[in-house]
Symmetry: C2
Subunit: 393 residues, 2 copies
C-alpha cells in the first residue's frame, strides 16, 4: 500500500489540532467528534467520496485523532491520514442500511472505551451527514454522556489560512480564472447550455500549469434572464438566447480548496440599468477591498460596498460574502464569517472570503465577485484574475 | 416567469402521490415530511442545488403537497413543481446559519397550521440532510406531535419505474455507454488521471443524441492498482502506469436518473488470475441476468452470481447490487433493495438495479457491471452497451 502524497506537512496538521484542542478546552469538551468531511480532511488529511455513509474523526485532548468509518474506507484512511494505521477504526458493512443495526453503535462503543460514557462530547448537530437517527442512536448507547452542539467549532479554527493553505487557494484561483476565460470565449447565442458546462468542467479538472483540478463542491450555476431569481436551478439543454444576461457562479478547486468566482455575460447590448449597476458594483468592490483590512470587521466590508450601491440608488439586502476554504459537497462556504452588517468578526491576515455583491433583478442578475485574502495590511488581495466587468458579446 | 419543461406528466406525479399516500395510511401517518432531495424531486418535480439549506415537501392525505424551503429557492420551486404557486412556502434568510433561529421553526408553524400539533408525522430521520439539530428544533416546537421514522417510505415507492421513468433510465444508459467508450479510447500509460476525468465529465454533460447530460450524484471513481481496495478515493494528477489495472465507476445522468456502469482496463498483459476472474464474472453476470426475472427474489440474483464465482474458486462477500433510479449527491443508490442473500424482495417488472459483481483483490480490482431493468418475463435487460470484458491496452 502506497501512502498518497500528503496535502500538508505534519507541522501544519499539528497546528490545526492545537487550535481545535484549545477551543475544546475553552468549551469544556472532553471529546470532539466531527462528521463534517471538510473538518475530517482539515484535521487528518482524509479525502474520499465516502461521506454518504457514517464516518467521522474523534478528537482527544491528549492522543492522536482517531478516524472512524466504513471498513473499505479505512483503506482510504490508511492512504491519506497523517496518523498511523492504529488510529484508524472501522465497522463492517453489516451496519450499513440495516434495520436492526446502526454504525453509531460501534462509535459509541469506541467512545465508551475512551472513557466517554459520562463525558461532555461535542458533536456537529447541524452538519449535513450527521442525521437525526445518528444522534438518537448515540444518545441511546451513551445515556450518561452529555452531547454538546459543536457544529462550527472546527470551522471557526479554519478561518485564518496558513501559508501552506494560501498556496492551495491561489492554485484554485488560477483554475477559476481559466474557467471564466474559457466560458466567456465560448458562450454564444444558440449554444446549448449543457455544452458550455461540459467545457467548464473540462477546464476545471484539467487544472492549470500542472496543478490538477479537483471536483468543486457545487456544480456550475448559470441561470439566464429572469431565471436569475431562481439561482440554484441547474442547467438543461436550452440554448443561450439573444438579449439575455447569464451569470456564471463557478469555482476552481485544488485539493478541496475553492476560490469561487463569478462573472456575467449579456448576449447583445446590455440595458442601461444593468450598465449602471455594473459601474456601481465595480466601485463597491473597490471600496469593499479597501475596507477588507486587518483591524476592520466583516461588517465594515459590507457597509463599504452597500454605501457605494446606495449612492447609485441601489439597495442590496442580505449578506455580500462569506468565508471560503476547503470544502466538500453540498456547499463551499465555511459557515462562519459572513460579510454583513450584523457580523462584527475582526478581520485577520489570511482570512479568505468570496466577496459576492450579487444583484438579482426581475429580468437579469449581475454577479461580479472576487475571492479575496486579507493581507498583513492595506486592501485585500484578489485570488482570481479576469476583468471586473460585465461582458457584452 | 417561465415554467421549466416538466420532467413528467401530471398523471405520473399523481401516480406517485397515490403510492406514497397509500403507504402513509398503512403506517398510520397523518403527515409525511420528506427532506431527501430525490424524494422531493420524485414527488413534485423540484430540481435545484439547494439541498445545502433546510427544505422539504409536506405530503398530506387530502391536499396537494407543499414545497417548503428558502425564499430564493421558492422561485426555483415556482418554475419546476407541478403544484400551483400557493403550494410553495418559504422562509427568509434570517433563519439561515443563525445562532438564535432555525428554519425548522417555520416548518413547525406550518405543520401546526395543518393540524399537525398532535399528529403522527413521518420524517426521514436517517436522511443526509435531516440534521440532528433539525429534529431537535421540530420536536421542541411541536412537543405533542409524534415523529415517526419514515426514512425510506418514499424510496420504496420508487422501486418500480414507470414507462416514463424507464425512458430516462435508457437515456442515462446511453450517456454511460458513451462515457465508457470515450475513456477506454483515451486511457494510456503516462496520461495524468485528472485529464482523463476532465474528458469523462465532458462526455457526461454533452450527453447523447440531443439528450443533454445532467451532473451525476457521485464523481467518477477510478482507482488504480492496489488503490482498488480504497475505492472511494478520488483522482489526482498522477499518470496511468504500465502493468496496472484501473476500474472506472461512472454514471451518465439524464434529468437526475442514473445508469451506473463500470468497466476495467489493464495497461499491459493482465495477470492470469485477473483473466480467470473476468471469465467467471462474465458467466456470473449471465446467470444473474437470467435469475433477475419477475417472481424471483433479489437474493436469487446474488445467489446465481455467487454460485458461478464459487465454481471458479472465487468467494465474493457482500452485496452484488442495489436499486438505482433518480438521485442527488452524495449517493446514487435508492437505499431500498440490495442484491444479496438476505434480501427477499420480490422482483417486479420495472425495477432497476446496478448489478455490481465487483472483485477487489490485493493488487487489482475488477469491476464489470451492468445497470439492468427487470422485464415482463425472461432475463433482465441491460441499459448500457459496451463489451462485457476487461480491456487490455
Amino acid at each position: 500500500m502506497t501512502k498518497h502524497e500528503p496535502a500538508f506537512s505534519v507541522a501544519e496538521y499539528q497546528r490545526r489540532l492545537s487550535l481545535v484542542r484549545g477551543r475544546m478546552e475553552a468549551e469544556g469538551l472532553d471529546i470532539l467528534f466531527v462528521t463534517n468531511p471538510s473538518n475530517m480532511a482539515w484535521l487528518t488529511g482524509y479525502d474520499g467520496w465516502s461521506f454518504y455513509v457514517h464516518q467521522g474523526v474523534i478528537v482527544l485532548p491528549d492522543a492522536d485523532p482517531l478516524w472512524w468509518g466504513r471498513y473499505m474506507d479505512g483503506f482510504g484512511a490508511h492512504r491519506t491520514v497523517w496518523m498511523s494505521n492504529d488510529r484508524v477504526l472501522s465497522y463492517s458493512d453489516d451496519y450499513i442500511q440495516s434495520d436492526d443495526r446502526h454504525p453509531m453503535q460501534t462509535l459509541a462503543a469506541h467512545l465508551g472505551d475512551l472513557g466517554g460514557a459520562e463525558a461532555r462530547i461535542g458533536v456537529e448537530k447541524e452538519n449535513y451527514y450527521f442525521t437525526a437517527r445518528a444522534m438518537e442512536v448515540l444518545s441511546a448507547e451513551l445515556p450518561q454522556a452529555v452531547f454538546v452542539d459543536a457544529t462550527n467549532l472546527c470551522n471557526w479554527q479554519r478561518t485564518v489560512k496558513s501559508a501552506e493553505e494560501l498556496v492551495f487557494m491561489r492554485k484554485a484561483g488560477a483554475i477559476s480564472s481559466k474557467m471564466i476565460r474559457g466560458l466567456m470565449e465560448r458562450v454564444e447565442v444558440g449554444l446549448p447550455k449543457n455544452e458550455l458546462v461540459a467545457d467548464i468542467y473540462r477546464d476545471a479538472l484539467m487544472g492549470v500549469d500542472g496543478d490538477w483540478g479537483d471536483y468543486p463542491a457545487i456544480v456550475p450555476l448559470l441561470p439566464s434572464g429572469s431565471d436569475a431569481a431562481a439561482a440554484h436551478l441547474t442547467w438543461d439543454g436550452r440554448p443561450f438566447q439573444k438579449d439575455e444576461a447569464t451569470f456564471f457562479e463557478i469555482s476552481g478547486c485544488y485539493r478541496r480548496y475553492h476560490a469561487p468566482f463569478c462573472r456575467t455575460v449579456f448576449l447583445g447590448d446590455p440595458p442601461r440599468e444593468m450598465r449602471h449597476a455594473e459601474a456601481a458594483v465595480a466601485r463597491g468592490i473597490e471600496a469593499g477591498l479597501k475596507a477588507a483590512t486587518p483591524g476592520n470587521r466583516a461588517c465594515d466590508v459590507a457597509i463599504a460596498l452597500k454605501s457605494e450601491l446606495e449612492r447609485a440608488g441601489i439597495t442590496k439586502t442580505g449578506r455580500v460574502g462569506y468565508a471560503v476554504g476547503l470544502s466538500y459537497p453540498p456547499d463551499w462556504g465555511e459557515h462562519t464569517v459572513s460579510l454583513r452588517e450584523t457580523d462584527e468578526t475582526l478581520l485577520r491576515p489570511g482570512m479568505t472570503f468570496h466577496f459576492m455583491p450579487a444583484l438579482w433583478m426581475e429580468d437579469w442578475g449581475l454577479e461580479l465577485t472576487e475571492t479575496i485574502v486579507i493581507g498583513e495590511s492595506g486592501p485585500a488581495e484578489c485570488l482570481c484574475d479576469f476583468p471586473r466587468a460585465l461582458v457584452a458579446k
